[in-house]
Subunit: 553 residues, 2 copies
């Protein structure tokens, strides 16, 4: 008997946040995972390198996971794949460029023996009981795709990240027809990118950036240094085109920029005529007006190319007054300050810096309000789940859907871990699965939790004061100490009196015990901590972490 | 003989930054200090509460400082005054509201016996050999003033923070005539606010906010909760006006909001008819549509009113689905993330949240491009120093001045501490004086320096591992330990094997010495540190701060 199952859609990342995108589709015993991204930590996650989704649900249902399908090669869509593949060996579908970028990451993380299956837009695969298809979309990286999944009870469409670029640089128009066709045949659920849903109008075409860049090239007298996202291959292509036009050689600097340019060139996504590229060491052999330097650091990341140049810390490139610096990116929220600092440093060095939104040398890769409306109207889904966005963006996207006629009760604004359950007729929230943030710190995955983070937060603000005492095991007398060591609290050399008096306070606190022969260390420690804390707060207004350590001999 | 002196203008804060504004004017033996502000620390200044200007120059020339003149009562203009007045007893001139706010601050900091001299716009005082006058300007706080100083060699004008509001809420129009008159008689140097110089057009009038607020009041069904800057008295006035119109009582919550409303009411800047205000405890006695709650937290500050409500941590106010929340402010750069989080939390609780720039419920207090041009054209200074802004803003403001006909060589883009020296005919950069950032942490002023900050940065990212060993003074044998204590590194209970092996490594490192009887502690410590650091990095990819502590008995 062919019992109809429910379709479950479970976002494990990307809801209520920008980043670590991951959506699980489950129909009966078949699970398909769409994307496996990472997020960069927020400021309060001190010392954390990366944040990845909690995939407990997938690990528990390992035997049912049939495939990971990737929409495109950005870190927030592929960055946690190596962690997932360490837990389960499943085939990974993606475009050639996406897989090219994935391969590099997997190698870095020593994940081998993977089954990577290249797909083209338009392809369709049977995976378990499901049919999975790939649709070309425009985005700020080539070969981005939306994905549809045909199940026995209906079709689901997930846009991935997208914009509708009517004049794409590579001529590969988004497959609007396919969205229309799917809509014609009836779509049960649409999941769509909310990143820019609050932005009015249409997002400009990438081609407009080419025109603005060309204008800067025409006007520039000295070197041109352009910083952008490494993965924005067509942006780099347009800069190279202008360089060729104005007789400039191109030096590519910055680890990730070099890496992507090399992969994209190998795979044919980037066309660079022979003799165009030069090595970093050759830069000084060419006159200033014959040079384009393409590099990273458009977000003010302290270790990236442009930031190092701005702070005069770059190995090969110093900034001179005749230089034109093109920052072909907008600051990602949270990076405004560091980008501002980079610009200021470049201006101080005398460079001509082009960076304002109004300069036209950057456009977004995400659909604005009118574009998300168009997709909603083409696909005409019965149910709608806005994805990829902070809560207010999802909410806003939901409201847009409502204005287009989707009933409010068919629009689901959810959180990571929510189970959205559908039949051919109905949709509902049906509980939650484990979900959340797993912290990657150095080699550790998930070994830094809230306690460690809380300790780091206290240490970061107030520092630490260590009190060491050696006691006689027999009679509880102090044999050595109290010795005080502090870091991040006060500069000890300038605070001798304070430290001296602090030592006295510890001795006084201990005297009570020595007479009374209390050997309960916990009591001694808490007594020391309390009296020190009180004293130091009175004197300094600060509350360092106080760590009493008692040694017995 | 009446020898003509040079005029020196020395900015000690506010150049290359937004915040801690302070400008020194010196003519011969007379020094006048304009504003004494503070800045809030950047993210990397861990644990620092406030940043104030280095006033070494003023302390060294204490006997010449004749007065502090204040342009208005914002923290970035008055917030370091108590630190300055602790170093020297000088008269302070400011408007009544400014001094009202100053008094509160001084009391908090136990600074007494101050000579506070209230001034009105239009007043002029002889201070030393100088004539100092006050000009009314518009800003986001009432009673803001520009200041001019007449010296024997020419007149200087400093705009303070300003915008040109043609329809001020309190009807007190900026004294444009005075700027024109000064310009007519010839101005040697103009210093002007650069904060919004990069923004095209004119800044909207505060009155437009009143209209937008009123519209929200008309539409709101439940309670209205408005968050804004406490010091924006006329914004609060407009909200109260709408509350009165629609029959709502007003509860004022949040320490700084309560404080400013009380001072502004006492001094007659805020008109609140009797029976309008209610206490926090009375809120629940009124129906939702009869209430306006005015509070702080428009910047997502975690401890402020709105943020506490959003996270359901407020003492008296919970958020309900019928509530309308008006965030009448734009995020200050750096606060975008926390403001976004507050909005998301409020939306999750079901509130209707009004916050976008397009909603019209906030306008800036700073002059846009066309306004700064108007001031430049009215004042027609010989020399121009753009102030109050990060470097790119100063630079941009300088370029604007150039387009208006001020010669490039008469425009000075400087840094804090630069000495700008003028005669009646000439202007030049003439060296530097001590300047910079002094950190306030708790009760300590300047006692936290770069070493402590660097330690905090390491502690914040990697935590600390303490290694304690007690040695026998006679023979160097280990009597106790090595004991390991870690905080912010790994969660020890889950890392027993790691810690156990780390202990072994320390023992191994010590064994060498025990046999060889090395009693040089520095060598022992560095050996322990090195071998542990290497081991931990291999195993965890992290570099905690390692603190070996050796006790001898």
């Amino acid at each position: 008997m062919n019992q109809k199952q429910n379709l479950q859609i479970i976002p494990l990342g990307g809801l209520g946040e920008i980043g670590k995108n991951m959506t699980v589709f489950r129909y009966g015993d078949d699970i398909i995972v769409l994307d496996s991204g990472l997020a960069f930590p927020e400021d309060d996650l001190l010392g954390i390198d990366l944040v990845i989704p909690d995939i407990t649900y997938l690990v528990e249902n390992k035997d049912k996971v049939r495939a990971v399908v990737l929409t495109h090669g950005h870190e927030d869509h592929i960055g946690s794949l190596s962690y997932l593949l360490r837990q389960m060996n499943v085939p990974v579908y993606g475009s050639r460029l996406t897989l090219g970028l994935v391969e590099g990451r997997l190698k870095e993380n020593n994940v081998t023996n993977c089954n990577l299956i290249p797909v083209n837009a338009g392809d369709q695969f049977t995976i378990g009981k499901l049919m999975v298809g790939f649709i070309r979309v425009s985005h700020s990286i080539p070969d981005a795709m939306a994905i549809y999944i045909k199940t026995p009870i209906g079709t689901v469409v997930h846009t991935g990240d997208f914009k509708i670029d009517q004049t794409p640089v590579d001529g590969k128009l988004m497959d609007i027809h396919k969205f229309a066709e799917l809509g014609d045949h009836g779509v049960l659920v649409l999941l769509s990118d909310s990143t820019n849903a609050m932005r009015p109008g249409f997002t400009e075409s990438e081609k407009t950036v080419g025109v603005a860049l060309d204008e800067e090239f025409r006007a520039a007298k000295g070197r041109i240094i352009m910083a952008t996202f490494a993965s924005n291959v067509l942006r780099v292509q347009q800069a190279i085109n202008s360089a060729l036009k104005y007789g400039r050689k191109v030096a590519v600097l910055g680890r990730s920029m070099v890496n992507v340019v090399s992969i994209a060139t190998d795979l044919g996504y980037l066309e660079v005529p022979e003799g165009t590229l030069i090595d970093a060491e050759e830069i000084n052999r060419y006159p200033a007006n014959r040079l384009l330097i393409v590099t990273t650091g458009s977000q003010g990341e302290p270790m990236a190319g442009l930031s190092r140049m701005a702070t005069s810390n770059h190995r090969t490139v110093a900034i001179y007054p005749e230089d034109t610096v093109l920052i072909s990116a907008n600051p990602i929220p949270g990076n405004e300050k560091s980008v501002g600092k980079t610009i200021d440093s470049l201006l101080r060095l005398g460079a001509h810096v082009v960076y304002e939104r109004s300069s036209g040398i950057h456009v977004s890769g995400h659909a604005s309000r009118e574009e998300v409306k168009l997709i909603l109207n083409l696909v005409r889904p019965k149910f709608f789940i806005p994805v990829h966005g902070e809560y207010r963006m999802l909410k806003h996207h939901g409201k847009i859907a409502e204005t287009l006629g989707i009933p409010n009760e068919n629009i689901f604004i959810g959180e990571n871990g929510n189970v959205f359950e559908f039949t051919a007729e109905t949709g509902r929230m049906a509980g939650k699965v484990a979900s959340g943030r797993i912290f990657v710190d150095g080699l550790g995955v998930g070994d830094v939790g809230n306690i460690v983070i809380r300790d780091r937060q206290q240490l970061s603000k107030e520092g630490v004061l260590i009190v060491v005492i050696t006691l006689d095991k027999q009679n509880g007398h102090i044999l050595s100490g109290p010795d005080l060591v502090s870091r991040g609290f006060v500069y000890i050399r300038e605070s001798e009196a304070l430290m001296h008096e602090a030592q006295n306070r510890v001795r006084q606190a201990l005297e009570k015990f020595e007479n009374g022969k209390v050997t309960d260390w916990a009591t001694i420690k808490s007594q020391v901590r309390e009296s020190l804390s009180k004293y130091l707060y009175e004197k300094t207004g600060r509350r360092p972490m106080i760590l009493p350590i008692i040694m017995e001999v």
